[in-house]
């Protein structure tokens, strides 16, 4: 029964492959040191460079493969390879550079590579921890369902509040009006609203309920429980959006920089051959 994650896929097949690649490259790096020191133009440098370029294309191809649903094999296998080979690539590219850095297209290319790799590692981390937290937060509900229930509670709370004294009515309608749930990406990433009107409303209601006339007591209790439930719904919805955002936003770096990397790499190769 196959049920492995991206790391132990097929008994660490790609992990082993990556380790072998790194070891070979490292051994070569130690053994064949050109007289002038390591640099990209030595025969070893060329080999490492060619291998790195091939890997970059392979890694970028993952984005295409992932959406070719009719192709054979599993996307999981590709991702497992992507992660381990991406890590191996970092070593290869580093050896290729011979640690010669400067203010030029070559170093820019290397820098972009690092951005892609670092964002990739963050992605891994996110994929590892957030799914479980999301499930704990949401259970069997889904976001649309929560938002619907919040909207319904808004309606009901306002309806009841109309029959109540003005201060209560104000509190409730402000809570309904001013609560915002993950409008901007930044807000989503944070996962809370400072001085959340919904939470404040519950607090205020606790105090406002003390000296109500008897005929309002039952309504008040109904209203209070709706507002409490509503607040926890709001909190869960924000939490869910936060997890989603954190699990996705790194791709806004990873993908554009991956494409930038492709372009920089092409320029780097052209530069090498023309100005050599």
């Amino acid at each position: 029964m196959q049920h492995s994650n991206i790391f132990d896929y097929k008994r660490y097949r790609y992990f082993k492959l990556a380790v072998i690649i790194i070891l070979i490259a490292f051994a070569a790096y130690l053994i064949f040191e050109p007289a002038v020191g390591h640099y990209g133009g030595s025969w070893l440098g060329y080999s490492l460079g060619t291998a790195s370029a091939a890997l970059v294309f392979l890694l970028a191809w993952y984005g295409v493969r992932k959406r070719r649903y009719r192709s054979s094999g599993t996307t999981q296998g590709w991702l497992s390879a992507h992660i381990y080979l991406g890590t191996a690539l970092t070593f290869l590219a580093t050896f290729h550079s011979g640690l010669h850095f400067g203010l030029n297209i070559h170093t820019v290319t290397y820098g972009i590579l690092l951005v892609v790799v670092v964002s990739g590692f963050f992605g891994n981390y996110a994929y590892m921890i957030y799914p479980r937290l999301m499930t704990e937060n949401m259970g069997e509900d889904n976001l649309d369902g929560l938002l619907l229930r919040i909207a319904e509670s808004d309606k009901m709370a306002r309806q009841i509040a109309l029959l109540m004294p003005d201060d209560i009515n104000d509190t409730v309608s402000r809570a309904c009006r001013e609560t915002s749930i993950g409008v901007s990406l930044l807000e989503q990433l944070k996962g809370f609203q400072p001085d959340c009107p919904s939470a404040m409303a519950v607090q205020e209601l606790t105090m406002l309920g003390n000296d109500l006339p008897i005929e309002h007591r039952k309504l008040y209790r109904d209203l209070y429980s709706i507002m409490v439930r509503r607040e926890s719904l709001v909190r869960r919805a924000r939490q869910d959006l936060m997890y989603r955002a954190r699990m996705g936003f790194w791709l806004y770096f990873h993908v554009p920089f991956a494409i930038a990397l492709l372009m920089a790499m092409v320029s780097h190769v052209i530069a090498v051959f023309f100005y050599w």
């Binding site: 029964m1 196959q2 049920h3 492995s4 994650n5 991206i6 896929y9 970028a60 984005g63 295409v64 992932k66 959406r67 070719r68 649903y69 009719r70 192709s71 054979s72 094999g73 599993t74 996307t75 999981q76 590709w78 991702l79 994929y127 957030y130 799914p131 479980r132 999301m134 499930t135 259970g139 069997e140 889904n142 369902g145 619907l148 229930r149 319904e152 009901m156 989603r244 699990m247 993908v255 494409i259």
Partner: protein, 822 residues
């Protein structure tokens, strides 16, 4: 004169649906003295009740239309208009608002009784009342007020009303839900809960009530309805509740009390049936004549579920009444069926030959035989050809007209039995819906008839003698398969004749831990769980599927029952009594050693499982609830026990990228067949809304064009003869079928794929809505795309046999379970 003699006609046709209309049109053409009576105020009430704008399809495609009543695939509205025009043009002698309530054979004539008490007489009566008409009505004072309706065509038509829905079944609940939002809804349910509803309806219902969108009263029956002369509400419902009578003023009442089965009505007319089954079809001659001379039954009521069939029968029945020989419309189709077989004879002769060679088929009347052959395939395998393989998932049934075949049950190439002309095979898959238990291979050139399960089921329901024989044979086969490979023919017959077939509802116990051993249970259909009390709670140890036995442990040891065995879903088991079993064991050392081996294996497995459970208990203090056995119980509650393949999502891995759904939609005409984030979760495992490929698919039950099939590897799929009637959607208890328009998806460019941009969707042309569901990507090499598209491996498919090993996290450790693979 006080009463005049009843009006007389040569032919009275009852019901102006497609079948009745066609008969009436033919009768007009032939100058027959006839009357067509229709209960509704307009013709074809079944078609009128389809939803607005439905595209009516004209299956079966190959069948020619022979009536003058026009019928081509078209919109409901167009169809009704055409028929109304035909009624006017032919001046059809129809009387609307005339309901027939009684019918009997008088001395010479048939007497028809109408709802208003009037009587009519006729020489011949054609019954074409369909099966939709008998909606149960509110039999209370005020139940006939105009504000009471029994159908909801267009929920959008009602705004700002207070509506009382009577009935807590699916149709009532669905109507109620469709009306929420714009109206105030109150459901009156006679039962104490809504447990008769589908889960999805139930959860929507509870949600809706939480939101305050509707309310319900349980154990409540309407008592009377009165008209209000003043105020906003036109009527008031008086309902008998647990707390006395409640007044509910409202605008409208929608009563969904279910339809009455047609059998009691037909029986009250005196029509004969050959089995006591409520589903049985009336006995008919090849001229559609029932057991009452002069009374003919056609169309849906006679068991022909499609419009075109009914129309053809309307034509034929009039010709038969006039004594004109007509070749049935299906003769051409039959001729095509027989294209490679006995080409030198006429269709009738070939049918006769089949009847003579296969005794089981001789039990059918001509109509039934024609229908069976039409729905079947004629196979002409050569010597050495394999008909089906062991572990295939096909559920068809085979009759042998000519030739001989071998059965191979185990792995050696030596036949374990032979089948001869006149016999039949495949009965076990017919009952169990599981994999084939053996391979069948032709040893000579053969002629076989391969019949779909649905057709066989219909015949078994209707033909008593056939049912008896098949039951006997099925018991014998299961005995043979489970314990009897080495049993002598005499012993086998002896055991089979004395075995008893027992049925259990889901959750019912076959036996209980500590009971005295009463015998060996062979699971014929369904599946069971084996559980023990460990540390004060019930722990599921095994899951046993059809084709295996339980209860051998106490038989071998002679001790009381070691575990409790419970039906996971509706299950049938064959019980071989303890005494007889011991007797056989004593005389058959091979069986003894096999049972012993099983016994030891089970003891070992038990030990392993108990270790595992306690390990989980002690390691995982916070989640004692997520031990493997609890996960299994949960999955079985979700209906996985009747599944053959189910999609699960591991929510602790799933990154909510929706690639699974996207992949499904992209490869299946734009409509995803799974809903990833709907469905219950337990211990991080979600059972999403997606087809489970049930062993006996409920969806197949009532598909008029028989468009739902099962492929050899178990995939349940819908072919393109679907007419979009929505029956399967209603029948699937897991709510995984949707009605949708299929259209091709644009191919994204490489850049779009790299950046994850969706290409602009092609404009959707108006197409007919058809039923769509998961086909397990049977046409895509590489298997289900949902699983393969998941980047993190969170989506997985399991077969119930693998459940236990999956749940206990042991990859490939199949010794813990009774799997029927190997």
């Amino acid at each position: 004169m006080a009463t005049s003699a009843p009006k007389h006609f040569n032919v009275i046709i009852i019901g102006a649906g497609p079948s009745g209309l066609s008969a009436a049109v033919r009768a007009t053409e032939q100058n027959v003295d006839y009357l067509l009576v229709e209960a509704a105020p307009a013709p074809a009430s079944t078609i009128r009740n389809y939803q607005r704008g439905k595209f009516v399809m004209s299956e079966p495609r190959g069948l020619p239309l022979r009536s003058t009543l026009p019928f081509t695939a078209s919109l409901r509205e167009t169809l009704l208009e055409t028929w109304e025009k035909t009624i006017t043009n032919f001046n059809v002698n129809v009387q609307y608002d005339t309901k027939v309530t009684g019918l009997k054979r008088g001395e010479k004539l048939l007497e028809v009784e109408l709802a208003d008490g009037e009587k009519l007489t006729a020489n011949h009566v054609v019954l074409a009342m369909g099966v939709q008409g008998n909606l149960r009505k509110l039999e209370i004072p005020g139940g006939d007020l105009p504000q009471i309706q029994y159908q909801l065509d267009d929920p959008q038509a009602y705004q700002n009303e207070t509506i009382v829905v009577v009935g807590g079944g699916d149709s009532g609940v669905e109507n109620a839900l469709a009306l929420t939002g714009r109206n105030q809804i109150i459901i009156l349910n006679r039962e104490e809960d809504f447990s008769n509803c589908k889960d999805s309806n139930l959860s929507q219902l509870t949600d809706a009530r939480k939101r305050g969108a509707l309310d319900w009263l349980l154990e409540t029956k309407p008592q009377s309805i009165e008209v209000n002369t003043k105020g906003e509400f036109p009527i008031t419902v008086f309902a008998n509740t647990l707390n006395g009578v409640e007044r509910i003023p409202c605008h409208r009442v929608i009563a969904r009390l279910g339809a009455l089965p047609s059998r009691p009505l037909l029986e009250s007319f005196g029509v004969g049936f050959s089995t006591p089954d409520l589903e049985a079809l009336p006995q008919l001659s090849s001229h559609y004549e029932s057991s009452i001379p002069g009374l003919y039954i056609i169309g849906a009521l006679a068991g022909y579920p499609l419009i075109k069939q009914g129309i053809n029968q309307g034509y034929e029945v009039i010709e038969y009444i006039l004594g004109n020989p007509v070749e049935p419309a299906d003769s051409n189709l039959l001729r095509e069926k027989f294209a490679n077989f006995c080409t030198d004879r006429g269709v009738e002769d070939v049918l006769e030959k089949i009847r003579k060679s296969v005794p089981l088929l001789a039990m059918l009347n001509t109509l039934q035989l024609r229908e069976l052959v039409l729905e079947s395939n004629i196979l002409l395998p050569k010597a050495g050809d394999i008909i089906f393989k062991r572990n295939d998932y096909s559920t068809t049934f085979f009759f042998i007209v000519e030739g001989e075949l071998d059965i191979l049950i185990d792995d050696d190439d030596v036949p374990d039995g032979t089948l001869k002309a006149g016999e039949f095979f495949g009965e076990l898959a017919l009952v169990s819906g599981r994999r084939r238990a053996g391979t069948v291979r032709a040893s000579q050139p053969c002629v076989l008839i391969e019949t779909p399960r649905r057709v066989m089921q219909k015949l078994i329901d209707s033909v008593q003698s056939m049912r008896r024989i098949l039951n006997e044979v099925a018991i014998k086969t299961i005995v043979h398969l489970c314990i009897g490979l080495s049993l002598s023919e005499k012993d086998l017959n002896d055991v089979a004749n004395n075995a008893t077939l027992k049925s259990y509802a889901a959750g019912e116990e076959l036996f209980h831990e500590g009971d005295e051993a009463d015998g060996l249970y062979l699971i014929q259909s369904g599946s069971v769980t084996v559980s023990r009390m460990i540390g004060g709670r019930e722990v599921v140890l095994f899951y046993v599927a059809a084709g295996h036995y339980v209860g051998e442990m106490s038989l071998v040891s002679g001790e009381p029952r070691y575990a409790t065995v419970r039906a996971a879903i509706a299950t049938e088991a064959v019980l071989i009594e303890a005494g007889r079993m011991r007797d056989i064991i004593a005389r058959n050392p091979e069986i003894r050693s096999e049972l012993d081996a099983r016994y030891l294996q089970h003891l070992q497995d038990n030990e392993n499982r108990q270790q595992l459970e306690s390990a989980f208990d002690s390691n995982n203090v916070a989640s004692t609830k997520s031990t493997p056995s609890n996960l299994i119980s949960f999955l079985i509650q979700q209906g996985v026990g009747e599944a053959t393949d189910v999609l699960l999502i591991d929510e602790s891995l799933c990154v909510r990228c929706n690639h699974c759904e996207q992949a499904c939609a992209d490869t299946h005409g734009g409509a995803t067949r799974l809903d990833r984030d709907a469905g219950p979760i337990f211990a991080n495992i979600r059972v999403p809304t997606s087809c489970r490929h049930c062993e006996h698919p409920h969806c197949m039950k009532d598909c008029p064009p028989d468009a739902i099939h099962r492929a050899p590897h178990g995939e349940v799929y819908i072919d393109d003869s679907c007419i979009g009637c929505g029956n399967c959607q209603q029948n699937c208890p897991y709510d995984v079928i949707q009605m949708s328009v299929i259209h091709d998806q644009p191919e994204p460019s490489i850049w779009q794929m790299l950046l994850g941009i969706q290409p602009k969707a092609l404009p959707v042309e108006d197409g007919a809505k058809v039923a769509v569901k998961c086909d397990m990507c049977k046409d895509i090499t590489g298997g289900p795309v949902c699983v393969r598209a998941c980047p993190v491996g969170a989506a997985l498919r399991v077969k119930p046999e693998e459940l236990l090993s999956y749940a206990s996290g042991h990859s490939g450790d199949s010794s813990l379970i009774s799997s029927d693979e190997h």
